[in-house]
Amino acid sequence: MQAEQVRQVVLDIIADVSMEDDLSNIKDEVALRDQLDLDSMDFLDIVMELKKRHKVEVPQEDYPRLASLSSCVEYLTPKMMQ
């Protein structure tokens, strides 16, 4: 899976988790929690969906790597290429 596809995967999951947030103007470099109505339970939902849908494990120590959309793509792309 290429970086652009990984970005879309993450966006799809965020859309399902946040439900009512407008994702059309999301800024890739800005922390997700600073621009969307996401809390710690939502974050765990995102981690769980990555595992359920794409078999990607995100260990707890790596959670900060999912802070923004760009850091998600950077962190997940190698994992999803495997």
Binding site: S18, M19, M41, D45, M48
Partner: protein, 413 residues
Amino acid sequence: MLNNQQRIVITGVGLASPNANNLREFRQALLEKKSGVEHIDMRHMGKVCAGNAHFDETKHQNKKMRKRGTRAGAVSIYCAKEALEDAGLDLTNLDKDRIGIYLGITEHGNVETENEIHDLYQNNLDTSLWSHHHNPRTVANAPAGEVSLNLGITGPAYTIGAACAAGNLGLIHGMQMLRAGEVDLALAGGISESTHTFGIFAAFKSQGALAFDENPAIASRPMDKNRGGIVVSEGGCIYTLERLDSALARGARIYGEIVGHAINSDASDFVLPNTERQIQCMQKALKVAGLTPRDIDIVNLHATGTNLGDIQECKAVAAVFESSDKTFVNATKGLIGHTMGAAGALELAGNLPSFEDGLVHPCYNLDELDPECAIKGLVEKETMNVGEVNTILNNSFGMLGINSALIIKKYKE
């Protein structure tokens, strides 16, 4: 004699019933005999009769919070907000630290646990996919906690587990907390989401107590000779309770006053009722109210449609009210099924408008009265206009032998 700080009154009603989404609709449905029982497809079981509430879940809750929370929480939030609106109470003008949320529940967490176990089997028993939402969804205070989160209420918010007596117990507890000065406003009542768990249906079926009919509208038939057991339903009813002095000070509409109550235990069987203890419960409530059986205008039966339960309760009511020739008796579950933790609070709401219109709604699907349930004053088939109704005694009983009786009086100075 209680002073106005100790007298507790009902000033608002919010409800979700299988046949109505507010008090006006509910009363109309009861008078017009509109059934809320339908066929639903139950996991592992197929077609069953049930009463589902059809309120708008997103009227007072956003989609994300609904997805995160529970059906019980959604029912509770809807009823609580509707009650506040009905009472004309604006939370922005109230001290949210002085509001209590007290919700009676039959049980909680079965729905979520069943769903997750279902998913677990779909996921080859991989427990690492078990939802992190399991614990906050299944803690017993969840329905009340969801109301507190939704409304920003920071006073005490918890549930009262009391099987099918729980609706009455929510009201009783709210009244007690107001009298104790713990809060200034109580959101109190009972709720249930029972129709979303196959376990309740399967257990009643195993017990030989689950009603079914190809015509769902006639499946629930308390006291009828051909009754077949319980129709499981969901719903909720939450009241705003206030001290009389505060209600009068803000010019609130007063639906009625809680004047008597009693809770006791059978200590005799896990599921079978106990007539003697039910008699004691009603008598104790009358004593607390300072009333005699002749002073009660309506007795609303718990009457679930089980063979023994209906007979035992009718014997108890007959014993307590044998001296009264002016007490009318009705039952509600024929139209809405058994709303479990909501039943006491919801069925009381069905009779509250009698204080205004003098009508007593009938029992439903009572085509051929079981001779063992033939008690004086039973309003069998048609609504009666009795002129004036001043008092209601509301029975609710539950498994493990918990009994409750609540007496509400038309408000008079």
